[in-house]
Amino acid sequence: MFGFGKRRKRSKDTLKERLIVVLKSDRAKLSPAQMEEFKRDLAAVVDRYFPNRDRQIDVEVEHRDDRVVLTANLPVEM
C-alpha cells in the first residue's frame, strides 16, 4: 500500500490517513462517531436492495456555500 518493496509505514503516512478522516468529519459537520453511525445506517438501507454488497463504504458530506453535498461510494455486486 505504501510504495513498493517492504518500505515501512512512516509518520507522514499515518498523518495523511488521520487528516483524511478528520477533514471528512469536519467538512460534514458531524463528529467522527456520528459519521460512523451515518455510514452504518446508510449501509443497512443499501443492504436491503443489494445484499451482496462489498462492505467497503465511503461517504463525504460537505457544506459548500448554502448547499450540502453528499457523496457516497457504495460498491455493489450484481
Binding site: S11, K12, L15, R27
Partner: protein, 264 residues
C-alpha cells in the same frame, strides 16, 4: 490570480501570514505593481515591524475607520521600492473597532485610485478579525505549514471563504523541510494539495534567512541579489500571481531546493 484584493490567511497562528504578506507584497512591487499591504490584526499588529516600518506609523487602519485621518495619511510609503505602501493595524484598540463595510470601502477606494494589488494580512482565528479581513477580499492566499493543526485549520478557513463567495484561492506551503519529506516524516506537496484540494502557488523552505531578515526588518524579497532560497520562493509566488508560468520541480532527494528554488 485575477483578484486584486487578496486576504492572506491561515486559521492557525504562527504559520507565516505576516512574513508572506510582507514578502509577496514586496516582490509584487519589485515587479512593478502598485501595492498596498494592510494589517488587520488589531491589538497584535506586526506587519509594521516585519517590514521595518514601525518607526513611521502615525495613523492606523482604525483611525481611518473612525474618521480621524484620511486614508493617504495612514499609508506609509516603503522607501526601498517604488509604489509599496503599508497601512498598519491599531495596537491599542480591540477588534470591536473593525467594520466590514469600512474595510470594503477602503479596498474599493484603493482600487479606484489605481493600485494593482491590495494584500490584507488577516489575524489568526475565525472570528470577527478574520471575517473583516476577508470581507475586503476578492481572492485568498492560504498559508499552511506541513503539519496536522495547520492543515486542519486551513481546511476550515477554506470552507468559510467559500461561504463568503471567495472563489479564487491559492495555497502557500511554508516551512517545508525537504530532508524530512525525503524520509517520509513530513507531508509532501502532493499530499497537502490532495487533502486540501486547492491550487498551489508556492512552497517556502524552512530558512534561517527569514528569521534574520525579520530581525532587521528587511523582507527577503527586497534583496536585489535574490540569492536566498526563501526570498526566491516569494519572488516566484509573486510571478505566478501575475500569471507567469514558473515551473515546480518534483521532490527529488537532495536536489529539491536547488531545483525548485534555484533554477526555476
Amino acid at each position: 490570480m485575477r483578484a486584486r484584493s487578496i486576504v492572506v490567511t491561515s486559521g492557525k497562528g504562527g504559520v507565516g501570514k505576516t512574513t508572506t504578506t510582507a514578502n509577496v507584497g514586496a516582490a509584487l512591487a519589485m515587479q512593478g505593481e502598485r501595492v498596498v499591504v494592510i494589517d488587520t490584526d488589531v491589538g497584535l499588529r506586526n506587519l509594521d515591524v516585519v517590514m521595518g516600518l514601525e518607526g513611521r506609523v502615525v495613523y492606523d487602519l482604525i483611525d481611518v475607520f473612525e474618521g480621524r485621518c484620511q486614508l493617504e495619511q495612514a499609508m506609509i510609503r516603503d522607501k526601498r521600492v517604488d509604489n509599496f505602501f503599508l497601512v498598519a493595524a491599531s495596537q491599542t484598540r480591540d477588534k470591536s473597532a473593525l467594520n466590514e463595510g469600512r474595510m470594503q470601502a477602503i479596498v474599493a477606494e484603493l482600487l479606484e485610485r489605481g493600485f494593482h494589488r491590495i494584500l490584507i494580512d488577516s489575524p489568526a482565528g475565525i472570528e470577527s478579525g478574520f471575517q473583516t479581513a476577508a470581507s475586503g477580499a476578492q481572492g485568498a492566499l492560504i498559508v499552511v505549514n506541513p503539519e496536522v493543526s495547520s492543515i486542519r485549520d486551513a481546511d476550515r478557513i477554506i470552507g468559510l471563504l467559500e461561504a463568503r463567495g471567495i472563489r479564487e484561492m491559492s495555497l502557500i506551503i511554508n516551512r517545508m523541510r525537504p530532508a524530512m519529506v525525503k524520509r517520509r516524516d513530513m507531508l509532501d506537496i502532493d499530499d497537502i494539495i490532495e487533502v486540501l484540494r486547492i491550487k498551489l502557488v508556492g512552497v517556502i523552505p524552512e530558512d534561517e534567512e527569514i528569521i534574520i531578515s525579520t530581525n532587521i526588518g528587511s523582507p527577503l524579497a527586497l534583496d536585489k541579489g535574490g540569492k536566498k532560497t526563501a526570498g526566491q520562493a516569494f519572488i516566484n509566488i509573486a510571478k505566478r500571481l501575475r500569471g507567469e508560468d514558473i515551473p515546480y520541480m518534483k521532490l527529488d532527494g537532495g536536489g529539491f531546493f536547488k531545483r525548485i528554488f534555484g533554477g526555476a
